[in-house]
């Protein structure tokens, strides 16, 4: 109870309340603009939050993170274009509902499901926090190293069909982190005797390049789209009543969101996929999924909104970010010399609870805002793409230049912008680079510390949590190998199935010709033989 009171005291400040309002409203608007997304917004705003108190800065960023998915559902449902990447599954059932003339029902359901997902995950985590506070101190250097390694492996294997290039990009991120002066022996690594590389490559510069600048280049290089919007009439509260009719789908999807959010490297996509598959399997009308099923919409929106609060768990408890957005938030902690990890849970539990309560309030604020302002927000999707690109390019400058007022940083960010643009064009993931950079740094430090008291290799996993993490890594790798082998079998089977007579037409023609020729020549020879016998 004392923790709760002191957490509320932390939040009862005008600047925190303002940050919550700005974060939640800003997040909804940013999420509703296709082509911006929370990653771009957080990357741009990150340096601006460095001058704020940690709680104010983090509340703003959390507000954007937590509310952008609400906003992202608007264009996903109305114009079949997801506002943020995680709303892609919402288009499957949301847009067909709009085409049926049920846009208001779809939006109302999406808001209600998102609200439930957000609130459910925060309540779960507040209840889970005391247990977490007991478990977190059991994580030493070895356990954190293994958890970070598990995160890296998971971020590779979740990119199904792209695992090899994702692994290469993770390694690229690991390499970027090593550039500069090595912190223990003070030797130079890949600086090529250039002074600007001695300090290393700043994570925020890379993040801004890969997310913000690349998005600006992508939009400026593309074409504008013609958008037709549906006019919405009526209230937005009917979704809450409809949501109550599907308690099983809602509870399971929320649980998937919370569980997947807590596992580093997994996140929204896996949570959505699992929830959607479950909802479809258990539905009385599975044939409606993808054609405007309310259960499908509920499953995807509940799952993705349950993730942000859960994603804060590995960040706050272990100091390990599970995806790109929490990796960016980690730098806010570092700037203020607040080291997230087991010590934070032990010494500053009120700070952790304050963040969760902020998320809870945020969900309420966003729902109220959306009930009244949806008709006005939908107009932001009309902003032309290339014009938006020009604005993002201008905003990116603030992010990069305000860090150190360095032209070199801007050139490096522009270079990563081009890399990010190429990756976007090829549909290759950017997140492995960021996680490689962040988790690489953590792994290097923790391995060095963890190996200090290790004499034999097995000593590294002689503690229960380390052993469990090792088994999890082993299990993930085995499952991945099994899946790769199954995929290969599938390809083989598909190839075999495609190999019908027509593909071997030439071969069959030749075979038939040879047979005819053989038969013909045999008969010719036989007749010749007969005539020759007669001659005798």
């Amino acid at each position: 109870m004392d923790v709760l009171v002191s957490a509320l005291e932390i939040l009862m400040r005008w600047d925190v309340i303002l940050a919550l309002l700005v974060g939640s409203v800003g997040g909804v608007v940013i999420g509703a603009i296709p082509g911006v997304g929370p990653a771009v917004a957080i990357a741009i705003l990150l340096p601006a939050t460095f001058s704020m108190d940690p709680i104010v800065g983090l509340t703003t960023l959390l507000g954007i993170y937590g509310s952008s998915m609400y906003g992202g559902a608007i264009p996903a449902i109305l114009i079949n274009t997801p506002g943020t990447a995680v709303n892609a599954l919402t288009t499957y059932d949301g847009f067909p509902m709009t085409t049926r003339g049920e846009a208001r029902r779809a939006l109302s359901l999406a808001y209600s499901a998102s609200f439930f997902g957000g609130v459910f995950s925060v309540i779960c985590l507040i209840l889970f926090a005391p247990t977490l506070a007991k478990i977190a101190p059991l994580f030493g250097s070895r356990e954190i190293f293994l958890a970070a390694l598990l995160g890296l492996i998971l971020v590779i294997v979740v990119h199904r069909g792209q695992t090899l290039i994702a692994a290469a990009l993770v390694c690229f991120g690991l390499f970027l982190n090593t550039v500069g002066l090595e912190p223990v022996k003070y030797t130079k690594r890949y600086t090529f005797d250039q002074s600007f590389l001695s300090g290393g490559i700043d994570l925020i510069v890379v993040v801004l390049g890969l997310f913000a600048l690349s998005q600006a280049f992508y939009l400026l290089n593309g074409d504008d789209e013609k958008i037709r919007l549906t006019k919405l009439r009526g209230g937005m509260l009917q979704g809450l009543r409809e949501l109550a009719k599907h308690p099983r789908v809602v509870a399971v999807s929320g649980s998937f969101g919370v569980t997947m959010g807590m596992i580093p490297g997994v996140g929204e996509f896996t949570a959505q996929f699992l929830s959607y598959s479950y909802a479809q399997r258990s539905s009385k009308r599975p044939e409606d999924f993808g054609r405007g099923s309310s259960e499908g919409l509920i499953a995807s929106e509940t799952a993705n909104n349950a993730v942000p609060a859960a994603a804060m768990v590995p960040l706050l408890a272990l100091g390990i970010p599970g995806e790109a957005l929490t990796a960016m938030m980690l730098s806010v902690f570092y700037v203020h010399n607040v080291v997230p990890g087991p010590q934070l849970f032990a010494n500053q539990m009120d700070f952790v609870v304050a963040l969760y309560i902020a998320l809870l309030i945020l969900n309420v604020l966003v729902l109220i805002f959306l009930i009244f302002a949806t008709n006005s927000i939908i107009n932001v999707v009309k902003i032309p793409n290339r014009f938006l690109g020009a604005i993002i390019l201008t905003l990116s400058f603030v992010g990069v230049y305000s860090l150190r007022n360095s032209m070199t940083d801007c050139i490096i960010a522009a270079l990563f912008g081009v890399i990010g643009f190429a990756l976007k064009r090829l549909s290759l993931p950017v997140v492995p680079i960021i996680l490689g950079m962040v988790l690489g740094g953590i792994m290097e430090v923790k391995l060095r510390a963890g190996m200090a008291r290790v004499k034999e290799p097995f000593d590294f996993i002689d503690r229960p949590i380390a052993f469990i993490l090792f088994l999890m890594i082993f299990g993930v790798l085995i499952l991945h190998i099994r899946r790769v082998l199954a995929d290969r079998q599938e390809i083989k089977a598909e190839k075999f199935a495609n190999k019908h007579a027509s593909t071997n037409f030439g071969f069959y023609l030749k075979k038939r010709q040879t047979r005819i020729m053989n038969t013909r020549s045999k008969s010719v020879r036989r007749s010749h033989l007969r005539y020759s016998r007669r001659d005798k």
């Binding site: 601006a48 001058s51 069909g161 792209q162 090899l164 290039i165 290469a168 993770v170 390694c171 690229f172 690991l174 390499f175 982190n177 090593t178 223990v184 022996k185 030797t187 690594r189 890949y190 600006a216 280049f217 400026l220 290089n221 032309p384 290339r386 014009f387 020009a390 604005i391 390019l393 201008t394 905003l395 990116s396 400058f397 603030v398 990069v400 230049y401 305000s402 007022n405 032209m407 801007c410 050139i411 522009a414 912008g417 081009v418 643009f421 190429a422 064009r425 090829l426 549909s427 290759l428 490689g436 690489g440 391995l447 060095r448 963890g450 190996m451 200090a452 390809i491 598909e494 495609n498």
Partner: protein, 178 residues
Amino acid sequence: MRGDSVEERRFKGPIRGQLIFALLLLALSILLISQLGDQTKWIKKTKFAAQPRLWPMIALTGMVVFTGIHLWRLPRRRILHVELQEAKRWLQVIEYCAWFIAYVWLVPILGYLISTLVFLPALAFRAGYQNKRMITYSAVIGFSIVVIFKSFLEVKIPGGVIYEFLPNTVRSFFILNF
């Protein structure tokens, strides 16, 4: 352009450009790993886990191996015309990089406000919005960005050299707010 083979049909994402990207990444990885001995140090009497060379070695070996296998497993390993067209598309964005660098170069000279009021409308004009309405919008948005970030959020952007020519009474106001 998607071919008929099963691998090409099952490939995630577009195939065009994948080969060039993989080749470039592999070339970069090989170039960097060839410099490992020169750019990192192996220190005697130091544990393996604390060696400064360890992590660059792991990272670069991973880059070479995984990119190599990715290249080998690509469904199409011929440089077709579409590959070159895609690479050309990547190079097209260098123009916008130049715009960005020019903006960065202009800010310490003209100041944040004037540079933004010049840059955003000019870029909007270049992007094809050549009517008065959009140019005005871009100028208003540019002004708002400056006010929000420099005046309100007080981000660290230095005042322009041009502000030195302003009268004493307004100089510090402009340096602090614009």
